[in-house]
Subunit: 552 residues, 2 copies
C-alpha cells in the first residue's frame, strides 16, 4: 500500500461549502480556512432542533504501543454508514504536533480511511491547539508577573500547580527551574512544561457548552495555593476574559471531510489519562443535531476512554450512547496472549485465544453500562484465517471484520450494517456506572474494582492529605477522572491481558475545577513525551510548491 | 475619541475577495481565513511582471517609550494615496501577542487609521507567529533529543546558541535551567526563551524569496558549537525540511484591508534590534507588483529600522527606495529637548526647538543614502500652534502635518500629495551607505560613526574573540545588523536628542546565518519583555457572542 500522504494526495476533495450544504448548515455560519476546512459558529448548535441522531462510541481493547486503529475504524465506519444510505458524521480529536514530529508522523486516520486535508490537519490546522497553548501560557506569565510585582494574593511559590505548556515532544522541559538571573527576572522556582493535550484549558474547552460557560469554567481553574487565603483561581488573577478571548475561534468546531467526501468534525484533543480523551462536546452535539448517526472516538482503551465517556462526558453533555464499537486486533490479542512484540506477525492461534481474556473483560465492563456492543476486528496484513476464525468463535458478542484501512468504506460495510441493525433492534439501556453523588473514594472504588478488576484500593500518604484538602475546599463529591497507564487494565503497564485482584494504588490527586473533575493519579503519568533518536521530523520534507512528504 | 476597538467595530468591511479583485489577484491564488483575511500564494509573485510600484519607507525620529505613530502614519498615508487616486498598498509587520497582553493591548494602527479586523490581527491572525514559534521549538527539542540519544554531532552543551521561543511577555523564562530530574530527562543545561519576534526563524522567513530559499536558509542556521567539528547547523540535524513544512502557510502574505477598505499586507514580524525589523520581503515585493505606491514601515527609529532597510533589506530584496517619510511628534521632540515624561503635554516651544536636533540627525543620515525625504509631523491633541509652527520652521526638509489618527485619510491628504510630488519631481539616488564587500569591523565603523555619530568604536574581549571565530568560519565579510537601544541614537538609552563623539561599545556578536547577517550587540538587548503589574490582559474580555472588548 502507498504511504498515507500519497493516498491522501490521490483523493479528490470537494469544496467544504458543499459538505456543509448537504448537512444544511447555512453558509453564513461558516468561517472558511481555505477551500477544504471550515469552522462552524458554535452558537449554531442552539438553533438545531431536529431529532437527535444516534451516538456510536468507538473504543478499543488494551492496545500494543502501536495502537490498534480506533481512528481508522471510526472514519471507516462513518464512511460505510454513508455508503449504505445513512447520514453520518464522524467526530474526532485534533492531532497534536508532538507525535507528528516524534514517532508517528501524523494522526488523521490512515490508509483509505482518513480525514483530509491531512497535511493541514496534522500541521497547525485551524490553530486551535496553538490557541490553547497560548491561553495556557498567558496564565503562567500572569502568575509569575503577579508574584514578581508584590504577590498580593500571597501565592506560595512552592505550591503552584499550573505548569507551562507547549505542543511539542520535549523531554528537556519536563522539569526546569525558572526566573533565574536576578531580581529583574522574578523569584526562582521549580516548574515544567506539559504537552498541550494535557492542559486543563484543553479539557475545559472540550467540555464547555458555549463561550459564557467556557469563561466561567476558566475562572474556576485552580492554579496555586495561597500562603494565607486557600486556593488561587484564574478568576482571582482577573484574566478569564483574556484567556477566553484567545479561544474565540478555537471554540468553533472544525468541519472537514473524509477521503470519501463524507463529513467529519475534528475538534479539540485532550489526553485520555489526565483528562477525558474525547473531542469537544460542542462538536459531538452539533453532529448529533445534523446527522442520523454520529461516530465518535474515545482515547486509549475502553478502561480509560470509554469509562470516562460513559461516566463523565456523556452525563456532562446530557448524551445517550446508542452503541459501542470495541476495536480489537489480532496483534494486540497475541500480545496479551504473551507473544513478544517482535513476533506479533507470526501465526499463533493459541496466543490469540489466550489474549481474548482482555477483550472479554472490556466487553463485560461495557455491558455494565447497558450499552449494545459490537466488536470490530481491525484486519492487519499479517492476520491468518485460523487466527481470525478463533476471534470470531471466541468473541462474547457479535464480532465483525473491519478492513477500512485497506479498502475504505467498502471494507466497513458489514460493520456499518451490523451497527445499524444493533441500534435498530436493541434499545440502549445506557446508564453511568458511577453515581454522580458519591464521595471521591467510593467512586474510585467502583471504577478500580468493577472496571480495572482490582481487589483493593490503596492511597499513599500524599494522596490522603491531598484528598482531605480537596474535601475541605468543597470538591469531595466531584466527578473523578483516573490517570493511569493505557498499556494495562491495571495500574501496572507490565500486567498484560486480564489482571485481577491486585492492589490499585492512588498516589496523588489534582483538581481540574474548570474542566469539572478531580484527577486521581495512579502511577507515573507522562505528560510530556520525548523525541526518539531518529524523530519523524527527519523524514518530513516540503518542496518549492509546498508539497509535503514524510507524513504518514 | 472612541477606543480603537470601538472605532474598528463601527467600520464596514468589504469581502476580502473584493479587495483582491481590485488588485487583479486571481481568486485561485487566495486562501481565505473567513471573509476578511486571505493569504495570497507566494508563488504568485513570480507571475507578476508589470512595472513595479514606487516604494515609500516610513521611519521615525528617536521615540518616547510610547511610540510616535509610525504604523498609524503608514496606514493613513496609504489610505490617503488611494483617496487622491493612486493605487497604494501598505505593508506592515504582524503584531506579537506579548504586547497585546502586556502594555499596549493591540498593534494594528490606531484611531481612524487601522488595519482590520483588528481582533483577529491581534489575536492569532492566520497563525504565522505560532508557526514560527513551533518551528523554532522543534529545533530546540531536536537539539536536546540529539544530545540525549548519544550526541553524535558532539554538541557542546555549554555552547548552544539556540534558545527556545514563545510569543508571550514572560520574564520568568528569560533564564532557566532545563532537563532536570534525572537521566530520563536529558542533560541539564542553562537555557532561556526569546519572544518569537526575536527568533532567527522569524528573520529568515521575512527575508526568504520562496520556499526553496527558506528551506536552504533554515539549513544554514547555526545552533551550537561542537566539541570537535566546529559549528553545528540545522542541516546537520536533518530537519530543515520539517521546519520549512511548518512554515508552509506562514510564507504566504496576509491580505487584509484598512478601515477605509484599501489593501494592506500584514506579514511577518521580526525585531528591529536583533534583526532587521520589517515585514516579509515577499509581501513588499508582491505589493510592488500589484500597486503604484507601496508604503512600508521599518521598526524603531531611523537609526535602527531605516538603516537596516537601506543597507541590508533593500539590497537583499533588490529593492529601490523612492522616498522616505520620517515621522516626528512634538511630544518626542520635547522629550529630546529635555522635558520630563510627565510634562510632555505642556507647551514648551524652546524644548521643541532644542529637540529638533534629533530630527536633524536622522534627516542628515537619510540624506547619505540619496533618498528624497518628507517629514510627517504626527499631530497629538496636546500640540499647540506655537509648537507646530516651530517644527515647520526648523525642519531641514519639507514637513507636513499628519492627522490620520483622528481623521483617517482626510488627515493625511497633504502628506500623500507631498510624497507623490516628491517622488515625481525628485528622482531617488538611493544607494546603500555600507558597501557589501567590507569586513565586519569596517561596516560597524561606518554605521557607528556616520549614523550613530560615535567618535570611536570599542570591542570588548568577548566581542573580539567571537569576531575571530566568525572570521574563521567564513563570516568575516557578512552583512552586519547592529542591536542597540531604540531610545537613543547612541548605544546608551539615557543619551537623548543628538549625542555625538562618544565611545560606541560592541559587546558581543551572534551569527544569524539563515537570515544572512551577523548581529553586533551593543548594550543589553531585551529579547523577552515582562508583564507589568496590571497587564492589559486584565482589561480584555469576550461576551457570549464573541464580541471582544479591551483591545486598543
Amino acid at each position: 500500500m502507498l504511504p498515507d500522504i500519497e493516498i491522501a494526495k490521490g483523493a479528490r476533495l470537494v469544496d467544504i461549502r458543499e459538505i456543509a450544504k448537504k448537512l444544511r448548515i447555512p453558509e453564513e455560519k461558516l468561517k472558511l480556512y481555505g477551500n477544504h476546512i471550515a469552522k462552524v459558529d458554535h452558537r449554531y448548535l442552539k438553533e438545531l432542533n431536529r431529532k437527535k441522531g444516534k451516538l456510536i462510541l468507538v473504543t478499543a481493547i488494551t492496545p500494543t504501543p502501536a495502537g490498534e486503529g480506533k481512528t481508522t475504524t471510526s472514519i471507516g465506519l462513518s464512511m460505510a454508514l454513508n455508503r449504505i444510505g445513512k447520514k453520518s458524521i464522524v467526530t474526532l480529536r485534533e492531532p497534536s504536533l508532538g507525535p507528528v514530529f516524534g514517532v508517528k508522523g501524523g494522526a488523521a486516520g490512515g490508509g483509505y480511511s482518513q480525514v483530509l486535508p491531512m497535511e493541514d490537519i496534522n500541521l497547525h490546522f485551524t490553530g486551535d491547539i496553538h490557541a490553547v497553548t497560548t491561553a495556557h501560557n498567558l496564565v503562567s506569565a500572569v502568575i509569575d508577573a503577579h508574584i514578581n510585582h508584590g504577590n498580593e494574593l500571597g501565592i506560595d511559590i512552592r505550591k503552584i500547580y499550573w505548569k507551562r505548556a507547549i505542543d511539542m515532544n520535549d523531554r528537556a522541559l519536563r522539569q526546569i527551574v525558572i526566573a533565574l538571573g536576578g531580581s529583574a527576572n522574578g523569584y526562582p522556582r521549580e516548574d515544567g512544561f506539559l504537552i498541550t493535550a494535557a492542559s486543563e484549558i484543553m479539557a475545559t474547552l472540550c467540555l464547555a457548552s458555549d463561550l459564557a460557560d467556557l469563561k466561567r469554567r476558566i475562572g474556576e481553574i485552580v492554579v496555586a495555593q495561597s500562603e494565607k487565603k486557600g486556593l488561587v483561581r484564574i478568576k482571582d488573577l482577573g484574566i478569564q476574559g483574556a484567556v477566553a478571548a484567545l479561544l474565540k475561534d478555537a471554540i468553533n468546531p472544525n468541519l472537514v471531510q473524509t477521503i470519501e467526501n463524507t463529513p467529519a468534525f475534528v475538534h479539540g484533543g485532550p489526553f485520555a489519562n489526565i483528562a477525558h480523551g474525547t473531542n469537544t462536546l460542542i462538536a459531538t452535539k452539533m453532529a448529533l443535531g445534523l446527522a442520523d448517526y454520529v461516530v465518535t472516538e474515545a482515547g486509549f482503551a475502553a478502561d480509560l476512554g470509554a469509562q470516562k465517556f460513559l461516566d463523565f462526558v456523556a452525563p456532562t453533555g446530557n448524551l445517550t450512547i446508542d452503541a459501542v464499537v470495541l476495536v480489537a486486533s489480532i496483534r494486540a490479542l497475541k500480545y496479551h496472549g504473551g507473544v513478544a512484540k517482535e513476533d506479533l506477525s507470526k501465526e499463533n492461534v493459541e496466543a490469540v485465544v489466550k489474549g481474548m481474556e482482555n477483550l472479554k473483560v472490556h466487553v463485560e465492563n461495557l455491558q455494565k453500562y447497558g450499552v449494545p456492543i459490537v466488536v470490530a476486528l481491525n484486519r492487519f496484513e499479517s492476520d491468518t484465517p485460523a487466527e481470525i476464525e478463533a476471534v470470531l468463535r471466541e468473541s462474547p458478542v457479535k464480532c465483525v471484520i473491519n478492513e477500512a484501512y485497506a479498502k475504505g468504506s467498502e471494507g466497513a460495510v458489514e460493520l456499518a450494517q451490523r451497527v445499524v441493525e444493533t441500534i435498530e433492534t436493541i434499545p440502549t439501556n445506557y446508564k453511568p456506572l458511577v453515581p454522580a453523588e458519591l464521595p471521591i473514594e467510593e467512586k474510585i472504588d467502583i471504577i478500580a474494582k468493577q472496571i480495572y478488576r482490582a481487589g483493593k484500593v490503596i492511597y499513599t500518604d500524599t494522596a490522603k492529605s491531598k484528598l482531605s484538602m480537596l474535601k475541605k475546599n468543597g470538591y469531595g463529591n466531584y466527578p473523578v477522572i483516573i490517570a493511569k497507564t493505557q498499556n494495562s487494565i491495571s495500574d501496572d503497564p507490565k500486567k498484560i491481558n486480564a489482571p485481577k485482584g491486585y492492589e490499585f494504588t492512588v498516589r496523588d490527586f489534582q483538581i481540574s475545577a474548570g474542566a469539572g473533575f478531580v484527577v486521581a493519579l495512579a502511577g507515573e503519568i507522562m505528560l510530556m513525551p520525548g523525541l526518539p533518536k531518529v524523530p519523524a521530523a527527519v523524514n518530513i520534507d516540503i518542496d518549492e510548491n509546498g508539497e509535503i512528504t514524510g507524513l504518514f
